[in-house]
Amino acid sequence: MLALTILVDGITYASWLFVVALGLTLVFGVLKILNIAHGSFYAVGAYAAASLVSWFGSMGLAPEWSLLALLMAGVATAAILAPLTERGLLRVFYGRDEVLLVLVTYALFLILEDMTKLIWGANPFYVTEPYGLFGNLSFGSLSYVGYDLMLIVLAAICGGAVWWGLNRTRSGKVVLAVIHNPEIASSMGVNVSRVYTVAFLIGVFLAALGGAFTAPMISVQPGLSVGVIIVSFAVVIIGGLGSIEGAAIGALIVGLARALAVHTWPAAELFSIYVAMAIVLVFRPEGLFQRVQARKI
């Protein structure tokens, strides 16, 4: 019974985490930026969801519409923040050292942290409407909230869509070419800077979507971004930076490790994730799904 509980809890946790980490790994794959501000986009998505859901509620719409509000929160966050960040800020720093770019996004993270506090204040928000929409499901003596299980479907849709888009469409192949070698792609007539913009947009959308759809399960309050970014870093590092399959397996490992700790040894919850990450890295320094790269002489 305990094993089943751990399994379901772990997979639920892994599902939204996968959506967020997918955005992170996509941005890293294309732009080669490890984006610390990704957690802030997640938080902004959650806050936007809180505002939109309560706005929809005040207009007297049925609770079913709140799902649309969640989706719109993700779209709106990405549409506003992604072009501003990529065109306005990151573009200035392209070509710099990787670690320097991490610090640029760290600065952005600090800025967004205070911006969200200025806009939404320090009090927590609760988004309750969508959570009851899917009822409860029971397995034997255990009962699960349908919304949690719906998240697993959402994660599968997001993962599948990104995989299909990259591997089965023409524009996806162009993106793969840019990932492989931006200079050659550019000389073949690919508009690399537009690929960067679109990839970043999708990355931010996934982060904000993850935030919007987890908002009903948590209290939306300051400090949300910090926890998420560290955990999703662990996910992409475990899976190998830039790999979709890796993000999926990484999310599962992190989700299960956390669920195992929560149910068997609660004191270890905080660092179970890092222990899992350290163990994977000891045996696979580049992550699970990363091809070994030749060192340049």
């Binding site: 600090l110 205070d114 930076l241 350290a278």
Partner: protein
């Protein structure tokens, strides 16, 4: 070498003289700049060979906790013992991880060190005997067996920090200029070629990690004793982030720049906390962006010529 030592001693003497007449409010940020600066110097040491530790909070916290625990439970009250003990404890903590971490570079090195520091954070928060998430208070230590009178406390702690930090900085400057220290710069440029020339890159990075941990432990102990309080946040990743920020602000060319950067950061932080209490992170972020945009080589590049920096023409 003689020049480095004399220059270092003269600078320390000038700062000591200046501190006697300096306004009282300046002493605390100056002490923090010194005690954080020595940690940053450790990061700079590793940055010279191209790896950045994003988890220096781990060894920083270890030094602080070690000194605080010795003061609280072992009854040791002598700062001249507590501070080196903090450094040694951190070096010992780093020792088993050094050979493992030395295999990693770039983001993987950064993330692994980060995860180690977060493991320590998790342990500290959950261990009630270590004060849990609130940490605990540390009594003000004696210096060479002398109690510090209340009005001299800030000045005394500043001089204590200056003595440790100054001495170690001179040693580090000599190390940077030694042939071993220069190999680090070569590793930064091209690791593989350095290995072909017969140096072990892994051994070098591993040793530097332990040395950096020692420095961070000293800094942690000084910080804990000066604040009179320690908490798990010392090991949190934002602490490490700020230390890396100071290292980027300083650049890897000059040791003096490290302390200048620490001091500037400390002032920016206190002033923005004072004048924009709700938006100091925003101010810090903007400041960071401006620095990266306009001073990518750090403050040190302002007074160290391009020839000495070894820039490619």
């Amino acid at each position: 070498m003689f020049r480095t030592i004399s220059l270092g001693l003269v600078s320390i003497a000038v700062i000591v003289l200046a501190s006697i007449w300096s306004p009282k409010w300046l002493l605390f940020p100056a002490t923090m700049a010194a005690s954080h600066g020595i940690v940053t110097l450790g990061i700079v040491l590793m940055m010279r060979s191209g790896v950045v530790s994003f988890g220096q909070g781990m060894v920083f916290a270890c030094g602080a906790y070690c000194a605080a625990l010795l003061a609280k439970h072992a009854g040791i009250n002598e700062a001249l013992l507590l501070v080196p003990a903090g450094g040694l404890a951190s070096a010992l903590l780093a020792l088993p991880f050094a050979p493992l971490l030395a295999r990693y570079r770039a983001i993987f090195f950064a993330m692994l060190t980060l995860s180690l520091s977060m493991v320590l954070y998790g342990i500290l928060v959950k261990t009630e005997t270590l004060g849990g998430s609130d940490g605990f208070n540390v009594a003000r230590p004696q210096i060479m067996g002398m109690e510090l009178p209340a009005d001299m406390a800030n000045l005394g702690m500043f001089w204590l920090s200056l003595a440790f930090v100054g001495a170690l900085s001179i040693v580090m400057r000599i190390y940077f200029d030694s042939s071993r220290g220069l190999v680090a710069l070569a590793i930064r440029e091209n690791e593989l070629r350095v290995e072909y020339l017969g140096s072990s890159v892994q051994k070098m990075i591993g040793t530097d990690f332990v040395v950096a941990a020692f420095l961070a432990g000293i800094g942690g102990a000084l910080t804990g004793l000066t604040l009179g309080h320690i908490e798990p946040n010392f090991s949190y990743w934002t602490t490490s982030g700020e230390l890396v920020f100071a290292a980027i602000l300083a650049g890897h060319h000059s040791v003096a720049a490290v302390y200048l950067a620490s001091f500037v950061l400390e002032l920016v932080r206190s002033f923005s906390a004072l004048y924009f209490p709700n938006t100091w992170q925003l101010a810090l972020g903007l400041f960071l962006l401006i620095v990266i945009r306009f001073l990518p080589q750090g403050l040190g590049s302002l007074w160290i010529g391009s020839r000495q920096r070894g820039d490619k023409q």
